[in-house]
């Protein structure tokens, strides 16, 4: 049991962390209560577009995908989110997802299917965001 240690300390001690996500921001890749993800400690190298990273923002831990690599920071967005987050620096990133267990099946992020999915997700943030916003608007109109 590892009570009372932070994710950072855990990764420092063991090198990798398998955990579960909370919320729907990484749907359909990760579903709360069903799926698991494994992150390994971030090294010196910068992350790549498409990487799913665990980072700390405002005291909270977030697992989202990098959609743009900039000189001093990253632009990050959850696969099921409408807006992007900016200003996430290398220092904020604790770990990088290496594999995930979806519906009981283990996948490596280097699997071909995962790479294709990652490419689509990281190259279409604007389209996805707009589509999601439109869908939410439509839902509100239908409800009235």
């Amino acid at each position: 049991m590892n009570k009372g240690i932070s994710y950072e300390e855990y990764l420092e001690k063991y090198g990798s962390l398998t955990y579960t996500n909370v919320g729907t921001s990484m749907m359909p890749l990760l579903k709360q209560g069903r799926d698991l993800f494994t992150v390994t400690k971030k090294g010196e190298k910068r992350c790549k577009r498409g990487d799913v990273v665990l980072y700390k923002k405002g005291g909270k831990y977030v697992l989202h995908r990098i959609v743009k690599v900039r000189e001093h920071d990253y632009v990050i967005m959850g696969d099921n989110c409408v807006s992007k987050e900016t200003g996430i620096r290398d220092i904020d990133i604790i770990g990088v997802m290496t594999e995930y267990k979806r519906n009981g099946k283990l996948h490596s992020v280097t699997d071909k299917g995962c790479r294709v999915y990652s490419y689509i997700m990281s190259h279409t943030p604007a389209v996805r965001g707009a589509a999601k916003k439109a869908a939410l608007k439509l839902k509100r109109v239908v409800k009235r």
Partner: protein, 86 residues
């Protein structure tokens, strides 16, 4: 007894990890060896302490009292974190 559905098992070559979902009150990670992995697998179906001990005795070449001790300890720890439906 059975493993609470808000806990997920993850096995690697080296170890077994038990992870709570966001709905569980416990928010840590339980890391264990093959014995814990076997106990957790058995707990995915309704079982008893006696049945677990019996299954492990068949599977592992270890002294009986050591297996009994390990099972009792594991069940006690799992119960403490709310991972068991008893």
């Amino acid at each position: 007894m059975k493993l609470n559905k808000e806990f997920l098992i993850h096995k690697t070559d080296k170890e077994t990890v038990l992870v709570p979902t966001g709905n569980a009150a416990f928010s840590g990670v339980v890391r264990g060896n093959k014995t814990l992995g076997a106990i957790l697998e058995l707990l995915t179906k309704e079982t008893t302490k006696e049945k677990i001990i019996s299954a492990l005795k068949e599977r592992f070449d270890a002294p009986e009292d050591k297996i009994e001790e390990d099972v009792a300890k594991a069940l006690s720890e799992l119960s403490k974190i709310g991972a068991l439906d008893e």
